[in-house]
């Protein structure tokens, strides 16, 4: 398997999805070697992790920037440096070993994956956790990235999409036929979730809540794709009607400063709390502390955070432009551009405890099925088909 990040050195959902997916596959006796571009000295016992670079993840990010940062102007440098590292690792691996299937995650690994395919003719499965048009928030993406992404999905033997929403995007953007693309949803590995304890990481919010305040939370990268500007505009309408409402925004990103400025310009700065990127207890309590989780993404291939929120007993409002909505029914859904409707629904959850309670109790029944169990079985079946196909 080729990837570009694993927790704890992850900048977003991709690393978590790869990690939990591999763990579930290993339980099904898949023998996985995971290739990363940078040093990874974390203990993982269910698969082998191979790297080439001498650089650690933080050093890597410092030198080249995160893959999520705006690549404008330095895309080529960034891509080729990462690729060089991956290629070196792969060079060595393919001379030593034999694999049934090569599974590559997201565009950064695709050129290396295609080189492996050229040299070995092992079947290649590429998985898209997002497409460039998602990351560009509906605008035109980076042409170099589009070129690599398009090449990957065209040359691969099989394409995995994390939702029907993403499948349609791949078909639309790159003209890949529907029957070449399989949808394999993400799941939630409950054993990886930080358990709750008595001490909250947010004593101030705790105090506000006991005084009748409600907390509405978003956890995610602050980029155009995540559409937090629309959430802030809706927040203004909510706070105007329900002044005891706090919006907790957890995450980092290129829009961070812009959003702080926007909250102030809208006159709601006192009700909007920015925490920056959080892990562990602070991350956990961002969910646990809230009355409603909102994911208004302009384009979200999957979006695990509403399910993580559900794990902590928090209901969600998500945009219809989100893949997770295909398997998560008992949540509120709005169009990402509809400021008034977002405000309307948030206000209703705050005003009506019965809505909150019904959402949570029904959604909790769904949580039981939102695991990696079925997705990993589906992937094993696909591996099987491809491996057999290669022999025949």
């Amino acid at each position: 398997m080729l990837g570009w990040e694993l927790p704890p050195y992850n900048s977003g959902g991709l690393g978590i999805a790869c990690y939990q997916l591999c763990k579930a596959l290993a339980k099904r006796n898949a023998d996985i070697e995971f290739v990363l571009p940078y040093v990874y000295n974390y203990k993982v016992d269910f698969m082998k992790v191979t790297t080439f670079s001498q650089m650690t993840a933080p050093e890597w990010i410092k030198k080249y920037g995160s893959v999520y940062t705006n690549l404008a102007g330095k895309a080529a440098d960034f891509i080729y440096s990462q690729e060089f590292s991956l290629d070196k690792a792969l060079d060595w691996i393919i001379r030593e070993q034999n694999f049934d299937v090569v599974h590559a995650h997201d565009w950064l690994t695709f050129r290396s994956a295609l080189k492996v395919k050229q040299l070995t003719n092992w079947p290649l499965i590429v998985q898209l956790h997002s497409v460039e048009s998602d990351r560009a928030g509906g605008h035109r993406g980076n042409p170099l990235v589009e070129e690599i992404e398009g090449l990957g999905v065209t040359m691969a033997d099989r394409v995995i999409a994390v939702s029907n929403y993403t499948k349609k995007a791949i078909m639309h953007d790159y003209g890949v036929p529907a029957d070449k693309i399989e949808v394999v949803y993400n799941g939630l590995d409950k054993s990886e979730m930080e358990p709750l304890d008595d001490a909250s990481a947010y004593p101030y919010l705790e105090r506000l809540r006991s005084n009748g305040y409600h907390v509405v939370t978003n956890v995610g990268r602050m980029t155009i794709q995540k559409n937090i500007t629309t959430l802030l505009m809706a927040a203004k309408e909510v706070i105007f009607r329900e002044s005891k409402t706090i919006f907790l925004l957890v995450g980092d990103g290129d829009q961070y400063n812009e959003l702080i400025g926007l909250a102030a310009r809208l006159g709601i700065a006192k009700n909007v709390i920015f925490t920056g990127f959080q892990r562990g207890k602070q991350w956990r309590d961002s969910f646990a502390m809230s009355d409603l989780f909102v994911m208004p993404s302009a384009s979200e291939p999957f979006g695990l955070t509403p399910i993580e929120a559900l794990f902590y007993g928090v209901p969600s409002l998500i945009s219809r432009q989100s893949g997770v909505g295909e398997i998560y029914t008992n949540c509120l859904k709005v169009d990402c551009w509809d400021v008034n409707e977002i405000a309307n629904q948030i206000t209703s959850v705050i005003q009506n405890p019965g809505l909150h309670e019904t959402l949570v109790s029904n959604a909790k029944q769904e949580l039981e099925h939102l695991t990696w169990d079925k997705p990993s079985q589906r992937l094993m079946d696909i591996y099987q088909q491809q491996a057999v196909g290669a022999i025949a």
Partner: protein, 402 residues
Amino acid sequence: MSRAIVLYLHVHQPFRIRQYTIFDAGVNHNYFDSPPNTQTNNPDIIHKVSDKSYLPTNKILLDLLNQYPEFHLSLSLTGTVLEQFERWAPETLQSFKDLVSTGRVEILAETFHHSLAFFYSREEFEAQVELHRKKIEASFGQTPVVFRNTELAYNNDIAYWADQAGYKGILAEGWDKFLGWRSPNFVYRPKYTENIRLLMKNYKLSDDIAFRFCDHDWKEWPLTADKFCHWLNETKDGTNFNLFMDYETFGEHQWADSGIFDFLKSLPSEWLKNSNNTFMTISQAIDSFEPVDDIDIPETITWADTERDLSAWLGNPMQQEAIQAVYGMRTEILSTNDPVLIEDWRRLQTSDHYYYMCTKWFNDGDIHAYFSPYETPYIGFINYMNTWHDIRFRLSDLGIGI
């Protein structure tokens, strides 16, 4: 002794609430005026159901009444559907009046607003039954003597109330849990009452028509009047076969191409082939047959779902919150003496609004298992509570604290 089919059809449409957001609350009070071509447009729905169901079915029923002197039936029409006919489909209202003027159609009593008021405010309930009586008298020149509660919701208390109120009959689901080994095909006496009689729906025969008629997987499909009457003739026990169902079964739930109209047309001729057989209204059945036993129903039953309880309307916290919010403001609402505000508030009591918030089936992902004009039960609730907030706003405009 003769045996009767007791056909009873329930006619109802709610005033559906338009998409109503928190931005409307305090600004627009037109909850029931949806833009054209939206799911909640009430005149559109009245026109559609009139064309598909009410007009063609009433034409058949009138022909049958003219052709067969033995043919009788009972109807219930809610105040909310009558008002909609008056405003948007007067020809449909006239077609019901034509049926009643034959003198062989009985109209039953119920709450004007098709509400569950009995369970929340006895005074409000009685006020709505009275409003309905006046409406029926004005529209049809008939005073109802048999009571049916919303969704056929029934228990000993309701029977006791109806008995005290002077009704001669009341209806309930013929649910096995309370019938036990007994057959629904008789007249019964509700426990703890003096004069009133109870007719219980034969749900098997009724649902053969109302639900299974177009089910091609059903082993009895296709159902013909011939076959149906054969089953009834073969049934040894019973004096009255109580076929109770939604009127909209004919043409709306079961479409014309299912053959439902042909079934209705040929039912009297097939049934009346046997000279012992006839049709009766509810009152005629009560007058003709002595009660065979007492029926004790201490808990509330309805004619809905496999559970036959109120869980489709009151089963989740949203539904509980919504209905309690509405009944909780009764004193303040009535104190305004504002007829428009009072009527808007009463329209919010129509049970359909709570049904749209039901999540029982939604959980299974089977969101088409019931009809709702809203995308999800949650949206139904949000719309509803926003109108409730606006009602509160209107109260505060009148100086009544919120």
